[in-house]
């Protein structure tokens, strides 16, 4: 361990956990209502970021209008996906549903490349890249206290991401629609017999997932640039979801932060092989979770009956 670097890397890792948590939130939203694990979430994220880029840079809209329009468009995209691809899958076995979302991810990836091209793009800066915040930590190294540098865009992405998770959590907790969504997640047939429009709720959760993905995509694109590889963030979000629990909204924050932190800490190591392990760290955490606590930290344990 390179102790001098640990505070910096830990903080950077935690901040990187914000967008991971937001991506994980999109997955949980859909899973909670319809028991579908959406492998296409990363591509939704990519689409949202690309649409925002196209509207603001190519079409010359002001940034706020582009973001607003992109959020509306991605909600529509989510609705369309639910109606066209997932509704025919109602009642099909798990494999078909998993493959449907995998097929969706391929279609969206292909569409993104076809419509927007694969070049690296400059995304408009929302938060200024200069003047990073400096934070003096209580840790002392060689008689100097360690100063942690917080990049503005990373910090604000983190704040927006955590706010997003909190807002969605409050929406689930305190609104009638949120109550309906929680009810649907308990039992589809029961919810329908109680007068809830189950399909409308599925559509709503896909639309919300699209919105969340777009926000996540914009945040990631401002801090790390925009190209087709943006969708790989979802590969760090899968372990975060399983770690936090598949049904748990607060779990996404905890899972995302733990994944981010573990990546940051590993990257602070002196040995190059351990440092390089940062990219697979989410999956090492995942295997540990699967072996010791498959339902995750805050998930529901399922009891199966024949």
């Amino acid at each position: 361990m390179n102790w001098q670097l640990v505070p910096q890397f830990a903080i950077t890792g935690l901040l990187a956990g914000g967008p991971i948590a937001l991506t994980a939130l999109g997955l949980v939203l859909i899973f909670k209502s319809s028991y579908i694990f959406n492998f296409a979430q990363g591509q939704l994220l990519l689409m949202g970021a690309l649409i925002t880029w196209w509207l603001s840079v190519e079409r010359g809209l002001p940034l706020w209008a582009a973001i607003l329009l992109a959020i509306i468009l991605s909600a529509l995209l989510g609705l369309a996906i639910e109606r066209l691809a997932l509704r025919p899958m109602t009642g099909q076995p798990l494999l078909s549903i998993i493959l449907m979302t995998l097929a969706l991810s391929q279609v969206l990836q292909g569409l993104a490349l076809l419509l927007f091209g694969g070049a690296q793009r400059n995304f408009p800066q929302i938060f200024s890249a200069a003047n990073p915040y400096r934070l003096t930590t209580p840790f002392v190294f060689n008689d100097k206290s360690i100063v942690v540098i917080l990049k503005q865009n990373l910090t604000w992405s983190f704040v927006v991401a955590v706010l997003g998770v909190l807002v969605i959590g409050a929406f689930f907790r305190f609104t009638r629609t949120g109550l309906a969504m929680r009810g649907t997640s308990e039992d589809h047939e029961l919810a329908q017999s109680m007068g809830l429009r189950v399909h409308r709720i599925f559509g709503l959760s896909w639309a919300l997932a699209g919105v969340v993905a777009t926000v996540g995509g914009i945040l990631l694109a401002t801090s790390s640039g925009l190209d087709l590889s943006l969708s790989v963030v979802v590969l760090a979000a899968f372990p975060a979801v399983l770690l936090g629990g598949l049904e748990s909204i607060p779990g996404t924050i905890v899972g995302g932060l733990i994944i981010g932190l573990s990546q940051g800490l590993v990257a602070a190591s002196r040995a190059s092989i351990v440092r390089n392990a940062a990219e697979i760290m989410p999956y090492v955490v995942l295997l540990i979770v699967l072996i010791f606590r498959p339902e995750g930290l805050f998930g529901q344990k399922r009891i199966e009956r024949i």
Partner: protein
């Protein structure tokens, strides 16, 4: 699969009842087809031969995935990772230890099988999404290992140059020659897979797929059979990986990637899950679509000028994704099911049952 036969046609012996190929003319057709495949290099163009070669290797990998996902119902996104394992083992044995390829091939298959066993262990505790995630972990950890561990032997991200297989002084250095190895392994492995699916092993697999708790209550050893399924799938992947590595003569951590794993699952669905014909149909159709994307690429470039060179890479996932979605919605049992319906209709003609 029990075939629908016209009333009044009965089997008179157990051997006849169990026969995989029921009619003399079917044997004739089969041998004619195999002969046509083996003589392909003499009358087909080089590009067609290399396409058939590639499809053959893909079928082996998908056949293994079929045993695991189609029969046993354990969804795996790790098939390409096990191909990487097999490819590296075979390449290292041939390059560094000077083994002949035909000795390295079974060892590569076995080695991949053992790695498959390790990543199959979570299947005893978790299923569904959770198992997909565990196999996805294999898809990240194994390529990472080849990139970062034992840099002197594995040569990091650059990968290895793989030698050409040699048998009795004959170098298999072109698709026209390599296709003989591919076809032989393909035919043997398809026979093994088909017969495994008709045996006690296959029945246990199907019982686990249909309801694993019920199967366990009936006395099917879940531990044993789930691990056997993972082992077999990884052995097939190892074979395919080693064959592909020596065919393209280069191997790195990205040669077989996550997209390939997704494509193999897709091929399985397009072809038909739980049928030995499924992987064959699926691999041919999907590889055909990919070829189609390559052919249509220039046309699409004229439609979407902004894409230019990316069009071919864009069309590949697009064609595959759309085909898979259509199959999932309209024919989730795949082409193999259609083929059985067609055969039944032919047999029962002019009646409908």
């Amino acid at each position: 699969m029990a075939a629908i036969r016209p009333a009044g046609e009965f089997d008179t012996s157990y051997a006849r009842d169990m026969a995989a190929i029921r009619r003399p003319w079917q044997w004739g057709l089969l041998f004619a087809f195999i002969l046509a495949l083996y003589t392909l290099p003499f009358y087909a163009s080089q590009s067609l031969v290399s396409l058939v070669n590639r499809i053959g290797i893909t079928i082996i990998a998908v056949q293994g995935l079929n045993l695991l996902t189609g029969y046993t119902g354990q969804i795996s996104l790790g098939q390409a990772a096990f191909m990487t394992t097999g490819g590296y083992i075979s390449a290292l044995l041939v390059n560094n230890l000077g083994w002949p390829f035909f000795a390295a091939l079974p060892v590569a298959a076995l080695g991949a099988g053992i790695v498959g066993l390790v990543f199959g262990l979570p299947s005893l505790r978790v299923k569904g999404f959770y198992l997909v995630m565990a196999t996805l972990a294999a898809q990240f950890i194994i390529p990472w290992f080849t990139r970062n561990a034992f840099h002197k032997v594995l040569n990091g991200a650059q990968g290895l140059n793989v030698q050409v297989p040699v048998l009795f002084g004959l170098e298999f250095n072109s698709p026209q020659r390599y296709i003989y190895i591919t076809l032989t392994v393909l035919i043997l492995s398809t026979m093994v897979a088909h017969n495994a699916s008709r045996s006690r092993l296959g029945r246990a697999f199907v019982a686990i797929r249909d309801n694993d708790l019920a199967a366990e209550v009936l006395g099917v050893n879940l531990f044993k059979y789930k691990l056997q399924a993972f082992f077999l799938a990884a052995v097939y992947a190892g074979l395919a990986g080693a064959l592909a590595a020596h065919n393209i003569r280069h191997l790195n951590s990205e040669t077989f990637n996550l997209t390939d794993s997704v494509f193999y699952l897709g091929m399985l669905v397009v072809g038909g899950l739980g049928s030995s014909l499924g992987p064959i149909f699926g691999a041919i159709v999907v590889e055909g679509l990919i070829e189609g994307a390559t052919l249509f690429g220039p046309f699409f470039i004229s439609l979407f000028p902004s894409t230019a060179a990316g069009a071919v890479q864009a069309l590949r996932p697009l064609f595959f994704g759309v085909a898979l979605m259509l199959f999932l919605i309209f024919e989730p049992r795949g082409l193999a099911h259609r083929w059985y319906l067609l055969k039944a209709a032919w047999r029962l003609r002019p009646f409908s049952y």
